[in-house]
Symmetry: C2
């Protein structure tokens, strides 16, 4: 994640993993430590492109991670520490989540500061 | 958007429009009124499937709208009131946004309450 929240991405095509989740509000320190660790680990994976993430005061959050390929997504899914974090997400942190894997076909951006 | 924040979607394939934005913090009433109106209008469009949206205290937000087809996305883009809202977004409400159009290929969910 860049300092301003936006991922700097190459031109499409690439893949997006859209993760929507409802936190149960418990164990904020443990949750945030693991979330930060997962981003740190993901950044070191082959094919990682970037991530954008936000969560409202109601505990509903959306994280979109961007990857070069389906193969990169599968490899990250098999990472042992990531698998353990997913398991803890089910047992301790989330009430509900939905995950969608999508191929980004086109993209467009706008920045007030852009020349 | 369903009461709990999650969109109830059919099985893939379908399309996702991932809209990431940084609010400038100005005109909260006008922004929220228009955001609510856009969801109300989008729900009446052919091919609309659902939306999930959240924004953190820092003003960074992610909205993902789901559509049956590229044609449905294009038709919504041409809606006059939507076009006017996008123009006002640039002039009044956002510092930066990124929009990505993606084809959802697979999806998976988990709910603590599920039987």
């Amino acid at each position: 994640m860049s300092a301003d929240g936006f991922a700097a991405l190459p031109k499409p095509p690439y893949y997006a993993v859209i993760f929507s989740s409802q936190r149960n509000g418990r164990d904020e320190p443990g949750y945030y430590a693991t979330a930060a660790r997962m981003i740190e680990l993901a950044q070191r994976q082959p094919g990682y492109l970037g991530v954008e993430s936000t969560r409202g005061a109601d505990g509903f959050g959306i994280t979109v991670a961007y990857w070069e390929s389906e193969e990169a997504i599968s490899a990250w899914r098999r990472h042992a520490e990531h698998a353990a974090a997913r398991e803890q997400g089910r047992s301790d942190w989330y009430d509900h989540f939905e995950l969608r894997v999508a191929k980004v076909e086109r993209a467009y951006g706008w920045d007030r500061q852009a020349p």
